[in-house]
């Protein structure tokens, strides 16, 4: 099956700004949907969106079309999300913030959600996942919130399937312990 973005991406790779804008308009919803799993505020989402599309522009000349363009773009978005988690962890370490501090951060003063119950649940899940290491957090975010399979995640990060399964098992065990601590303090 031919890639509907191939021609546009090839033009964009040659520096055609109009083609880049078409790609942004076409895929902004898919990228936002994925990146929203990583962040809790709209401002962070906007930052990551800009970072992702900036990386897209820089990487376009190297895109060879071995995989559909949208897969390539979502791969960039996932890496951007993981880098965001890593930056958060480093900042937390430098500022010596407690690990649970992030759970108490209010998402935003004005946060109009279409489904407030879903937003509250998502924030609770994200706050729990925030207590894991960046890679474990990324893995469980993609697996639990985005519904990716372990094979897909392994392929995304260049891990072996066995290593991904072991990592997922350890992360879930840690998460279960966190849940247990929270339910029975």
């Amino acid at each position: 099956m031919s890639d509907p973005d191939a021609e546009c991406a090839a033009r964009a790779g040659r520096g055609d700004r109009a083609a880049m804008e078409i790609l942004v308009r076409r895929h902004q919803d898919a990228v936002a949907r994925l990146l929203w799993r990583f962040v809790r505020t709209k401002s962070d989402l906007d930052d990551l969106m800009q970072e992702t599309f900036l990386r897209m522009v820089r990487g376009l000349p190297d895109w060879r079309g071995q995989q559909p363009f949208v897969h390539w773009l979502l791969r960039i978005a996932t890496n951007t999300g993981r880098d965001y988690f890593r930056r958060q962890t480093v900042r937390r370490r430098w500022l010596a913030e407690p690990r649970t501090g992030e759970a108490d951060v209010p998402p935003e003063a004005i946060d109009p959600a279409a489904d407030p119950a879903a937003r509250a649940a998502a924030n609770e899940v994200k706050a729990l996942l925030a207590q894991l290491s960046p890679d474990d957090r990324t893995l469980l975010t993609l697996h639990h919130l985005e519904g990716w399979g372990l094979m897909q995640i392994a392929d995304q990060f260049g891990w072996t399937l066995t290593a991904t399964k072991v990592r997922a098992w350890r992360a879930r065990r840690q998460l279960r312990s966190l849940l247990h601590t929270r339910e029975h303090p």
Partner: protein, 100 residues
């Protein structure tokens, strides 16, 4: 009668089901397009980028191993050929009285 304790796993599953229904807020398309319009475009890849890609973290080790093997092979070949030529060189030196 005791109240049953909440099952963390069941609660987690419910929480996940609800969380998956959360949708992203609308993004700032104008800002995105501005970023794309003003972004500095990278140079076209050429032989130089292919060459430098050889020394990227993933390609560095195989490139070093390949280079070391090639060097070892060349050195062995040189030593071998000198070794072969040495008795002839001695013979030549004897017959010419040491003159080249």
């Amino acid at each position: 009668m005791k109240t049953p304790r909440p099952d963390p796993d069941a609660r987690w599953e419910t929480l996940l089901r609800q969380a998956r229904a959360d949708v992203a807020p609308p993004t700032d398309l104008t800002a995105l397009l501005r970023v794309v319009r003003t972004a500095e475009l990278p140079g076209r890849p050429g032989w130089m980028s292919d060459f430098t890609a050889l020394f990227a973290p993933r390609g560095a080790l195989p490139a070093c191993l390949g280079g070391a093997s090639a060097l070892a092979l060349f050195a062995f070949w040189q030593i071998w050929s000198f070794w072969q030529a040495l008795p002839w060189a001695q013979l030549l030196a004897i017959t010419t009285g040491g003159a080249p």
